[in-house]
């Protein structure tokens, strides 16, 4: 199966990041159509399209859009989540770099639909290159009258768009933490519904706030340009449209591929040129947070929001996602899954914001236990201990980061328990000396991610 190019259709057109060339290729047509419609009709178009959030959770976009109050007693805000931090994902980076106007167009449409006068793109601090592209695009859009006062001659529709750069924190991708960060605070999440109002009623600066991912806004611009019904012809019943999948790891042609949702996992590997350096061992299909799929089960999985894996705790079963943010990582048979999980745990340990105990302590414990296993100090009960800790974190932490720290470990234990047991019993890698990534040197742990 081939790619289905909707967002990335013009990615190779030279100069497409400039407004004139973007317009020549149908750019800002979606905005013009939207401005000729009533606000509710715009939201209805999004509803017809079946667009679901592309940031990871897959929440239907129209529900958020239509939830913004109809009155403007308080100012409304439109935020774009460009804090792409999920390991394995690099679609937002490319979208902003090559198609900045498509993202901006989607945001202007959202601003019109929600009567917002101000918007912010929160871009992670490391993404200077992509942000430069967005900066140029915003400046061009102001000159052409797509931003500023009376946009496209529409009386009463004013919209200003600002860039807010992050400063290095995965947690700021979590939407309420992003709002904290935008308000000049530490990037820690805020109290959530039902204990606090939803962001659509009280978000940033206690005002109604719409927040979506970069890819969600880009898709919205295409939906308005070509119609929601057209978009809904792609994908599956519950997961409509296309999704950009970032393929990396042991494949011949790593990169971003846009496919219809419901695309088979094995075909995805083929599309990226097949596995290199050995046979396929496992795939992490949706960013580091989703559980790993071993090679022999890949044929059963398709990339859509219905796909899930089940993991078992002592008292409960959990359904975990497959697509996530679309970070598709492929591993060949030289990969040591236990060491890989140690690195995953290291990531969550470092990125935990420290606000709640299950995640702050639990991630560290997981990392410590996996460290001792992979340096030859594993104890017989360690696997059960890991499951127990994951059980204490999953669903019991303040925000999604804690859950996301437990899921990959549970997935790995489910499918690769024998490798954990091998490490504990033999005190060396089941893959052999040349395993990837190499096990850490016992007395020289590499992690020095302390603040300096």
């Amino acid at each position: 199966m081939a790619e289905t190019l909707v967002l990335l259709k013009h990615r190779d057109v030279p100069g497409i990041e400039n407004i004139d060339i973007y317009e020549q290729h149908g750019g800002y047509a979606g905005l013009k159509k939207a401005l000729a419609m009533e606000r509710d009709a715009v939201i209805n178009e999004i509803k017809t399209s079946g667009l679901r959030g592309r940031g990871g959770a897959g929440f239907p976009a129209w529900i958020k859009w239509s939830g913004i109050p109809k009155d403007t007693k308080k100012p409304h805000y439109v935020l774009c989540n460009a804090d792409e931090g999920e390991p394995g994902t690099f679609k937002d980076r490319e979208l902003m770099l090559k198609l900045p106007h498509m993202v901006i167009e989607g945001m202007i449409i959202a601003a019109y639909a929600t009567q917002s006068a101000k918007g912010y793109i929160y871009i992670r601090g490391e993404f200077v290159e992509s942000a430069r592209s967005i900066r140029r695009a915003i400046d061009q859009a102001y000159k052409k009258g797509y931003l500023g006062k009376s946009i496209c001659g529409k009386e009463g529709f004013d919209f200003d768009l600002y860039i807010h750069m992050g400063a290095g924190s995965y947690e700021c991708g979590e939407e309420s933490a992003l709002m904290s960060s935008l308000m000049g605070e530490r990037g820690q999440p805020r109290l959530k519904f039902p204990h606090a109002p939803l962001p659509i009623h009280e978000g940033v600066w206690q005002s109604p706030t719409l927040i979506n991912n970069v890819e969600t806004y880009a898709a919205a611009s295409q939906i308005l340009a070509h119609g929601g019904a057209w978009y809904a012809t792609m994908g599956t019943e519950n997961s409509k449209g296309t999704k950009i999948i970032s393929v990396s790891g042991h494949v011949k042609k790593p990169g971003n591929y846009e496919v219809e949702l419901g695309y088979p996992v094995l075909d995805m590997i083929e599309l990226a040129g097949g596995v290199t350096g050995g046979k396929l061992k496992a795939v992490i299909p949706g960013g580091s947070s989703v559980p790993i799929i071993p090679a022999e089960l890949c044929k059963d999985f398709k990339l859509d929001y219905d796909a899930h894996q089940v993991v078992q705790y002592s008292m409960r079963t959990m359904r975990l996602p497959v697509v996530g943010s679309g970070g598709f990582m492929v591993f060949n048979d030289k990969t040591d899954i236990v060491v890989l999980m140690r690195r995953t745990a290291e990531f969550y340990t470092h990125e935990s914001c420290g606000k709640c105990t299950p995640c702050r302590e639990g991630t560290r414990w997981i990392f410590k236990i996996l460290s001792r296993i992979t340096t030859g100090g594993g104890l017989p009960g360690d696997i059960d201990l890991l499951v127990n800790i994951c059980d204490q974190i999953d669903g019991r932490s303040y925000c999604g980061l804690g859950d996301a720290a437990a899921w990959p470990i549970m997935g790995a234990i489910k499918h690769f328990r024998h490798e954990f047991e091998y490490w504990i019993e033999h005190k060396r890698s089941p893959v052999g000396e040349d395993c990837l990534p190499p096990a850490p040197e016992p007395l020289n742990p590499l992690l020095t991610l302390t603040p300096v």
Binding site: G88, M165, A167, S169, M183, R364, P438
Partner: protein, 206 residues
């Protein structure tokens, strides 16, 4: 944090007595104008803490000594501890001086399986420092970072405002040589680039 298994403290980074912040301001005329522009983007002054810290990081040579934090706090009329709390939360604000080039090697999942640890070990030997340390000539600081989200080009190394992709232990020496002869890609360049990104063209000074 340094007590955790797996964490080695960065030499000189712990329990060093901090001098009381002096009140000598260093924001240039341009920096003050940039801050004024940025303040118009938000409904309150507090929201400008992040961009203001970026300005400070540039004005103070690529890192944030206590004076820099004090200056931001004073200019935004916020308490020192609040600004300090923000500055210490985010990994890209440097609390100590970095080398002229800060090598930030991604060792997250994809990069790890594509040879990032070999690159790190090679650099440790080549530069004679451990991760987290700066070479004695002040040229390079070596760090490990989390996913830079350019995994298609693993291993990725960030230096200042630039990503270098497809780095291996074979070609990393070339990168080191290029950097030695380059005045670009410094920590202050990164801070400057980020500050400029906030400023719209119509208000920017040529």
């Amino acid at each position: 944090m340094s007590e955790q298994a797996g964490y080695v403290p960065v030499v000189g980074a712990v329990a060093e007595p901090q001098p009381a912040p002096e009140k000598s301001y260093r924001f240039s005329e341009q920096a003050i104008q940039e801050l004024e522009e940025i303040l118009t983007h938000y409904p309150d002054k507090k929201s400008a803490i992040l961009p203001a810290l970026w300005i400070a990081q540039r004005e103070y040579d690529g890192y944030l000594p206590p004076q820099a934090i004090q200056e931001v706090a004073d200019r935004l009329e916020r308490p020192f501890v609040e600004v300090e709390g923000v500055a210490t939360f985010y990994t890209m604000y440097n609390l100590r001086k970095r080398g002229r080039h800060h090598l930030e090697v991604c060792t997250c999942l994809t990069c790890a399986v594509m040879g990032a640890y070999e690159v790190v070990h090679h650099l440790e030997k080549r530069l004679g420092v451990k991760v987290g340390q700066t070479t004695s000539d002040g040229e390079f600081t070596l760090s490990e970072v989390e996913c830079l989200n350019y995994c298609g080009a693993a291993t990725v190394v960030q230096v200042g405002d630039k990503y270098f992709g497809n780095i291996t232990k074979e070609n990393v020496d070339e990168l080191i040589e290029t950097l030695r002869n380059s005045n670009e890609f410094t920590p202050a360049d990164l801070a400057n680039a980020i500050v400029r990104l906030h400023i719209p063209e119509r208000t920017a000074k040529k």
